[in-house]
Amino acid sequence: MADSNKNLKRSSAEREGTQDYKRMKTNGDGDAMDAKPNPYLAHLDEDFSSPLDDFERHKTTALQASKAEDSDNNPWTGRPHSQQYFKILKTRRDLPVQKQRQEFLDAYHSTQILVFVGETGSGKTTQIPQYVLYDELPHQTGKLIACTQPRRVAAMSVAQRVADELDVNLGEEVGYSIRFENRTGPKTLLKYMTDGQLLREAMHDHDMSRYGCIILDEAHERTLATDILMALLKQIAERRKDLKIIVMSATLDAQKFQTYFFEAPLLAVPGRTHPVEIFYTPEPERDYVEAAVRTVLQIHASEPEGDVLLFLTGEEEIEDACRRISLEVDDMIRESDAGPMTVYPLYGTLPPHQQQRIFDKAPDALRKGGRPGRKCIVATNIAETSLTIDGIVYVVDPGFSKQKIYNPRTRVESLLVSPISKASAQQRAGRAGRTRPGKCFRLYTENAFKKELIEQTYPEILRSNLANTVLELKKLGVEDLVHFDLMDPPAPETMMRALEELNYLACLDDDGELTTLGGMASEFPLDPALAVMLISAPEFYCSNEILSITSLLSVPQIWVRPNNARKRADEMKQQFAHPDGDHLTLLNAYHAYKGAEQSGEDVKKWCHEHFLSFRHLSSADNVRAQLKRIMETHGIELVSTPFQNKEYYTNIRRALLAGFFMQVAMRESANSKVYKTVKDDQLVMIHPGTVVTSPYDWVVYNEFVLTTKQYVRTVTNIRPEWLLEIAPNYYDVDTFEKGEIKSALTRITEKIRRRQAMKGGR
């Protein structure tokens, strides 16, 4: 049963994939297509009298549009409106943004770029694209409307909602497109997509000629892709005067957006938010977790009905706080007449069905007339913007979050607890005012708020490794990286490091031009190192295996290690362990998973028994299928060394180096647990989650992170000879600084030379 399901899913994934491919193809000659009337939209010209007939593009009014919306037949499909439609229409008319529809249209007509500010709850994400739809009339021009979202889930759910509001089927007039899924069709007029997806489309269509209007939603979140899109659209807007751009943001930094977009006009719509009362502590807290737990309990004890949202930083902290709060509440109930309180954790790696539970209703009072129950959600900053939970009245904010920050000098990615920004603090507080006036308890002093918090959270572009971005920019035709007009230009060192890495990977030639390999690597939605490893895998006769490993590295951890069964989980992991390292262990687990699937076992149960994440394994499977298709289109062979061959694993280990030769560490000294990264000379430890037990002298690693210490994660044993052979450029011994690594490499060079001399002598 599960097996057949599985197949079904896969085949549907494949179908979508082909669509994807076709779409990409048509993108290329999009310009030609636009010249003639779009044959797919011909049905709209048929002679039913549409309320849209007397609409004139860019001259419509709100009145006209609302008349069209009120008519019996759907102007977009010609079908009669359903009952449901009118019901939704009524609620739509109550949205704050509706009152300013005419104002919006006037502003929209008057300018090419518009900055739109709408607080949460204003309805901007669903309504503005529809207003544009009624004005842009894409069925006449054949140019679509795109609305970008930073998150996949948002793109999907908003598209579904808007399809309902317009009374059309999702995937027809309204569709969405996200990284591994495309639900659009020939009839599509309005398309929700992730910002990354629009960027990928732009690689093949530098002018974005398919689109008549592009709406960048949630621009204040400043994702990497949004930042690049903004810079790109700024350029395109000069070339294509017919392209309209709307940048939608939250209030805080609207001015910055205006300035950035040639002093674009601003339109603001108030949200439907209630006042939130803010409280600080008089003195700093000794222990913010402790203080947070107490605050929650005190709210429960003394505040009127309403749910609580507590922000903490990480999974462990959250689970711990949840446990403590639940225990204390139980006590409280036993000792006195407190109301019941259910506590839910919420963090990114939590399985979806458990995430869903936060929307459960708060528990009822224990007895009739007793104190009301409430729920308490303990969340990471995922609840800051990504998720809206109604019913929250109290917010507890200790002022910390975990942030990923990349350091180009040492090439370490740190994931550390750090103070949030003022903007972030306000966003958190705002969560309390969604349903009624609320309260926000900040576990720091007002002084700390003013003095210790930065104004804005650093945009992603300042915190990330830019290797992938630079590759994308090159592919997007951006030649001048120095003067590319980003809203927040990254640190020069970050840019240098990215260029350098791409050069070593042979994606850029010595003049900084994109090479064939680089062009091919940019086709993969992967980091350049992974892409290069995948592309060069056939040389090592193991592209099938490297493909599997790549997919497994592109999804979250497949290992499940629940707190109450750590030991058993570790034992299970040992079953898959390969003595040479974690990459091979991953591969073993994947093969076992596929084996279980083929033998018709209940895979879900199998995964559960073996402490593997079914969700991540199946998504790795999906990613694998997508990547396989890209490989096929580029004629990259899929080959394997026979399993019986003793070179099977060796080949894979060598192939890893083809992409990751810059991520190698050598043991500092015999008997030491400390390793030193090559060239950067950083002292690192192997992350305790590894299966590697015997201390190897040389390892290749997938990530270098700074959490409590500097760790390398997912490591595999390699032989130093391979380094000299596979990446002679990088391992040019003369370029190394004096030290253990240099002498080790010199020794090995000597050894190789002697061996060759001996061979020649014979």
Partner: protein, 362 residues
């Protein structure tokens, strides 16, 4: 940090910041950037970009991180416990040397004193709880002062509570005034008691005609006089405000045998102790239903940040200074003892109990 503090040894490499790489001027990356017209020290991005005014240091160099491996709250310092003491006396002088104006110095001084005083009070007596009684407008008691009706609607219970600790400063000062809320439900207090209290407070509303309204001016004044808490000061306040608001919102007869939950314990005990004490001392609480909220803002060095926020009317900056608002662990050892003493005192004050103790039949 004394010798006993946790040691944090960390092995560093020779070049933990990899300056070797960053100083290398002929790397491939630098070469490309220079060839495109970049000079060291410049931002990347468009030339003379109008939005450059928002650029920060993060646009010139990578973001520095700090490894935080403890749960110290935001703004708290590790060595807080044994920081140089006695500097307070010189703050005035030091401030003047640093070119601060007298007014700001006065204000800072006042804040410091307030904190000190309230800390003292909190440690010594704990806090006291009041119950919301409405506003006296003219000669009628209303739920809210007219101008704040809207803001105040959000409370539902009619009991206010004095919260320890929470000197919750608010950014929107007057907004908050009449926040009504249920009494801090303490584990010690049974529900019916609470409900009784609620009733009481309602009753009070009707019969508290005695309250004098001194709204406008007083509010402002109280903003400054937050966290006032000695008897004498209370007396003061009373005399300047309204002599006749002596009402029974003081809950003198708090349950004595409270069972504590560990977390809240400390605070509760303190509260009780203080109450006992006050009961023995004066027996009359002076809290007035109007200004109780302000008075309530005594703070408590030990209490957690209390979410029973009193309407925060202060826009004064939080005093920076000593202590945390979470309890200092060391003080807990005195708890049992002080409670015992308090009980004894109480017993001595009660002649019936004394008689019983000495087995005197009257």
């Amino acid at each position: 940090m004394g010798l006993a503090a946790a040691k944090n040894k960390r092995k560093l490499g020779n070049d933990p910041n990899n300056t070797k790489w960053s100083r290398n001027t002929d790397s491939f990356g630098q070469k490309i950037l220079r060839s495109q017209g970049w000079q060291p020290g410049e931002y990347l991005g468009a030339k003379d970009a109008p939005h450059a005014e928002w650029h920060t240091e993060a646009n010139t160099t990578h973001i520095r991180v700090v490894l935080k491996d403890d749960t110290l709250g935001l703004g708290a310092k590790r060595n807080n416990g044994d920081e140089c003491t006695g500097l307070d006396a010189f703050q005035h002088l030091l401030g003047r040397l640093n070119g601060k104006s007298d007014e700001t110095l006065e204000a800072e001084q006042k804040v410091r004193e307030d904190v000190k005083l309230s800390l003292y009070m909190e440690r010594k007596f704990g806090t006291i709880r009041f119950v919301k009684g409405g506003w006296l407008v003219g000669d009628q008691v209303k739920e809210t002062p007219d101008d704040e009706i809207e803001k105040a609607q959000n409370g539902s219970a009619s009991e206010a509570q004095m919260s320890s600790a929470d000197v919750s400063e608010d950014s929107e000062p007057a907004a908050v005034k009449s926040k009504k809320r249920k009494a801090d439900q303490d584990t010690d207090r049974e529900d019916d008691k609470a409900r009784k209290k609620e009733k009481k407070s309602k009753k009070r509303k009707t019969d508290a005609e005695t309250d004098v309204d001194i709204e406008g001016g007083k509010k402002k004044k109280d903003k400054k006089s937050k966290r006032r808490r000695t008897e004498s000061e209370e007396g003061d306040e009373k005399s300047t405000e309204s002599p006749d608001e002596v009402d029974g919102c003081f809950e003198a007869k708090r349950a004595k045998k409270e069972k504590k939950k560990d977390k809240k314990d400390k605070k509760e005990k303190k509260e009780k102790r203080r109450k006992d004490k006050e009961a023995s001392e004066s027996g009359v609480e002076t809290g007035d239903s109007i200004s109780k909220e302000k008075k309530r803002r005594k703070k408590d060095a030990t209490a957690e940040t209390s979410p029973a926020p009193t309407p925060a009317e202060s826009s004064m900056p939080t005093p920076s200074g000593s202590g945390y608002s979470t309890p200092v662990p060391t003080s807990s050892r005195y708890l049992a003892r002080s409670r015992f003493i308090a009980q004894k005192k109480l017993a001595f004050a009660d002649s019936a109990a004394l008689n019983q103790i000495f087995m005197i039949k009257s």
